[in-house]
């Protein structure tokens, strides 16, 4: 597939989004209106900008990544529109902002290469930790940047400019910073980590001093996240870290240790926090606690079951019955309205995105870029698994967004920057 067919596929995916919006309108008795055209236009501008930036700043990048991402954003967008036209209007603005930020990232990286990121890894770490700390700013002070607590978790910041407010979840960008830092650090210390190790029985462990900075970085971010009670992001970053460590060293002991630490952490969180406990109850017995803890998961499952093979049709189901349908439960909402056909398609597109991301990693010769591409893809894949698995009761619900599909500005910006980074690596590694 070349650049031209990539462009054509982007236009086709944008048409798909606009068509789905039109179907929602028809279902509610209206016809093709400004919303349909506006959606098509915003999709064209958003991904046209990204496409143009790729042509200008990363021309040798794979053409296989943007089209499936457009399809995912489109499938998520029509469902957001169906649930709340107001949210969809905001989401359109966020799409434009995200495309601008991602294009800016491509432009800046074209001035050097991604190795700039490696060089400034410590700066990135400090910025990342700073980002993670932002939601703990006081909510009531006079400064325009305030922290915000939502549903018992402190993961939002508000930029209050008096006339308008912008809310942002810094963890969505922080996850990228963490992956960049981990990749750079592991690339720098890869040899030492791999060769200097101690044997404890059959398990090989690196020299403790090699791990101190990593454990500090990890412990610090986990501490902040537990402090902010954002279980999902905490789990996501730890999983990304462990998988990268394994990728860099090939020591399966890290996976075992990481798995044990995750279980311990989860058990500790469940005993320490009420809201984690409620999620365990909802996970294990949603129908027994239908009226309270289990309501959301039960509604999600009813939505999927009622959707059945072909779904109710866009706009014709009742996904609005699911609490937080536009964010955490967008997958169930989509499953209700476009059915098993739609959910299988969504999973297949995610599989394609993951395959392209890992393909970029496989073909990279540079260790840092290889680890970065793998790490970014892993973090995204783990996020997809955690939230869809949460909806499907495979794992407890952790309350994170579904990449590209959920409503949410910070998530969209973070994930399009993730795509931009993958594209840039792809460009740098193809000759």
């Amino acid at each position: 597939m070349g650049r031209t067919s990539e462009g054509a596929t982007i236009v086709a995916a944008s048409l798909l989004a606009a068509f789905a919006v039109a179907l929602v309108n028809f279902a509610q008795g209206a016809g093709v209106d400004a919303q349909t055209g506006l959606t098509f236009l915003v999709f064209l501008i958003t991904f046209g900008t990204l496409y143009a930036a790729v042509r200008a700043f990363a021309p040798r990048a794979t053409p296989l990544l943007i089209p499936p991402v457009v399809a995912l954003v489109g499938l998520g967008f029509f469902e957001i529109y169906r649930l709340s036209p107001e949210l969809a209007g905001l989401q359109r603005w966020w799409m434009l902002i995200a495309a601008a930020v991602a294009s800016l990232v491509l432009f800046l990286l074209s001035k050097g290469t991604t190795s700039v990121l490696r060089r400034y890894r410590n700066v990135i770490l400090i910025v990342t930790v700073g980002l993670l700390l932002l939601p703990n700013l006081p909510s009531g002070w006079g400064f325009p940047l305030k922290g915000l607590e939502v549903n018992g978790s402190r993961l939002w910041i508000v930029l209050d400019l008096g006339i308008t407010q912008m809310q942002f979840q810094p963890a969505e960008l922080a996850k990228l910073g963490m992956v960049i830092f981990f990749s750079a650090y592991l690339a720098d210390h890869q040899k030492a980590l791999r060769e200097a190790h101690r044997r404890i029985g059959p398990i090989r462990l690196p020299e403790p001093r090699q791990l101190i900075p990593l454990i500090l970085a990890w412990g610090g971010s986990i501490f902040i996240l537990v402090w902010q009670r954002d279980l999902g992001a905490s789990l996501l970053m730890f999983a990304g870290f462990v998988l990268l460590l394994y990728a860099a060293t090939g020591s399966a002991g890290y996976l075992v240790a990481g798995g044990l630490m995750t279980l311990t952490g989860a058990a500790a969180a469940a005993s320490m926090f009420d809201h984690v406990q409620r999620r365990m109850v909802a996970w294990l017995a949603p129908f027994e606690h239908y009226q309270d803890e289990g309501y959301q998961i039960a509604q999600g499952i009813f939505a999927l079951g009622t959707g059945s093979l072909s779904g109710s049709g866009p706009g014709l189901g009742r996904p609005d019955l699911i609490p937080n349908a536009a964010t955490d439960f967008i997958f169930a909402a989509v499953g209700e309205e476009i059915g098993f056909a739609g959910t299988v398609a969504v999973l297949a597109i995610y599989a394609l995105v993951v395959a392209v991301g890992l393909g970029i990693s496989f073909r990279s010769r540079d260790t840092f870029r290889k680890l970065l591409a793998a790490g970014l893809t892993f973090v995204m894949a783990v996020q997809v698994f955690l939230i869809i698995g949460g909806v499907l009761r495979i794992v407890p619900l952790t309350g994170i967004t579904l990449p590209f599909m959920s409503y949410g500005g910070s998530a969209l910006v973070g994930n399009l920057v993730l795509v931009a980074l993958l594209l840039r690596i792809s460009h740098e590694e193809s000759t």
């Binding site: 098993f340 959910t343 890992l358 793998a374 894949a381 499907l392």
Partner: protein
């Protein structure tokens, strides 16, 4: 380094396969079960707020309509006639299900826009997808009068056009406001209705079986006349109590005395005065089989094919063949004989219609959103219930009931009314008064069954002649008044 990444990649794809298994489980394997789960409000909600067709009477009285809310653009169902029509019209509630015509004609009344693939095909073929409406044969004025006539009594009234079977009135009392069951609090309203001892949600007119009492003597008389076993002038012994053969039990008359002079009485006298002694005797002489033939010719033990499934009226020939005592009791409409008020109205209609039983129906016409008929109901016969001669004789006997017998209070000045009273005692603490009849005798336009379920309201001394017959008189007068 590609080695470990590849292994993680395998893990990632295994996880994605797990998600695929998850959606297959919920959307394919368990889909039907989840859709039907009573806690899943979606299937019922899908119907809520959609436009439904009108239910109107022939004279244009609106019984059910959908009104659009201009802000939400969803439709609210209204039942302007309320309680009087609640059991006939029924309701369509997203929380407690649907009943009556709303349920029976759900597929006609529903909007066919945007629901199924077949609707889409229909739309492409240029078919009209707007909801269709139904026109019921009920006379709104008669229906209201019937509901009012029952007053505080529990009971039911069914009136039919004897020549077509068209339902002119079908009332069950006490009733309820069906609009209570349409809102978000429908479930709790439903619980309140269920907790009411008077059981207002039961349709006593078509869905409940009762012992027909002496009104069943019309069926026994039919069998006697059709088989030639007895005629109006045939005489019977006239004891104070009739000894049921093969048992110690006896049957007495309602007044506790003899029927005529204590020596003998004719079948006509026994019918007009509703003498139990003689009809028990006659039933045993006829035998379970011959009565059964007449009963089944009038639709007993079979599906009469009403608008919705109704219980079959019961005459159990098999168990009565070798049990003359039970046969004697069954001959006066007690023991295990059962019929709905709808069915007994049909029996009266068969006599009125020269002996031909007709299938009762309530919907005369289905029409589209432009008012054009889509389907008109063709009246259909159940079959000949008795010979023309028998019908003529029985009519004369029934007229005598009203002019000089137990049904005198059913009389209407200037109108020839025929009828038969009944006071069933079998099952409840209080007697259950009945009256079935028709008018005018020379060209019947209405056949009616009035049933009162015995309760403290109707009292211990209520009888068909004193409680049900006056109501029939009143309603026949309403029906025949210009």
């Amino acid at each position: 380094m590609n080695g470990p990444i590849r292994r993680v990649a395998i893990g990632v794809f295994l996880c994605l396969s797990l998600l695929l298994a998850g959606v297959t489980w919920y959307q394919v394997v368990r889909a039907d079960e989840l859709r039907a789960d009573p806690r899943n409000p979606r299937p019922a909600l899908a119907e809520r707020g959609k436009e439904r067709g009108l239910i109107v009477t022939t004279d244009g009285t609106v019984l059910a309509r959908s009104v659009e809310d201009p802000t939400t653009r969803s439709f609210d169902r209204e039942y302007p006639e309320g309680e009087s029509f609640a059991h006939l019209v029924g309701y369509s509630s997203f929380l407690v299900g649907s009943t009556g015509l709303e349920d029976a004609y759900a597929s006609v009344l529903r909007s066919r826009r945007d629901l199924t693939i077949s609707d889409l095909v229909a739309a492409l073929l240029g078919q009209d997808l707007r909801p269709q409406s139904i026109e019921v044969t009920v006379d709104a004025e008669l229906q209201r009068a019937a509901a009012q006539a029952l007053g505080a009594n529990r009971g039911a009234i069914v009136a039919l056009d004897p020549s077509t079977g068209a339902v002119l009135a079908s009332v069950s009392n006490p009733s309820f406001d069906p609009e209570l069951l349409l809102g978000d609090d429908a479930a709790s309203q439903w619980e309140l209705l269920l907790a009411d001892d008077a059981e207002p949600t039961r349709d006593r007119a078509t869905l409940e079986l009762y012992a027909p009492g002496s009104t069943f003597k019309t069926v026994v008389a039919t069998a006697a006349l059709d088989t030639g076993t007895a005629g109006p002038g045939t005489t019977f012994d006239d004891p104070v109590e009739f000894d049921l053969p093969g048992s110690d039990a006896t049957i007495a008359n309602a007044n506790g005395g003899v029927c005529n002079d204590g020596v003998s009485a004719t079948m006509l006298q026994a019918f007009v005065r509703s003498c139990n002694t003689i009809f028990a005797d006659l039933a045993i002489q006829l035998g379970a089989v011959d009565i059964g033939i007449s009963a089944e010719a009038m639709g007993f033990n079979q599906d009469i094919g009403y608008e919705w499934p109704v219980p079959d009226a019961v005459w159990d020939t098999g168990s009565l063949i070798d049990d003359p005592a039970a046969l004697g009791q069954s001959g006066i409409g007690e023991r295990d004989v059962r019929a709905t008020p709808l069915h007994m109205a049909m029996v009266a209609a068969a006599v009125a219609n020269d002996g031909v039983a007709v299938r009762p129906y309530a919907v005369g016409r289905i029409f589209d959103a432009d008012g054009n008929s889509v389907e008109e109901t063709e009246p259909s016969e159940l079959g000949r219930a008795m010979s023309l001669e028998t019908a003529t004789t029985l009519t004369q006997m029934m007229e005598r009931v009203v002019t000089e017998g137990t049904g005198r209070q059913a009389a209407v000045p200037g109108v020839r009314v025929a009828g038969k009273t009944g006071t069933a005692t079998g099952t409840s603490e209080f007697p259950n008064p009945w009256f079935i009849g028709f008018a005018p005798v020379d060209d019947p336009t209405i056949a009616i069954a009035v049933f009162i379920e015995g309760s403290a309201t109707s009292g211990e001394s209520a009888s068909g002649g004193s409680s049900a017959a006056p109501i029939a008189s009143q309603l026949i007068e309403v029906w025949l008044s210009p």
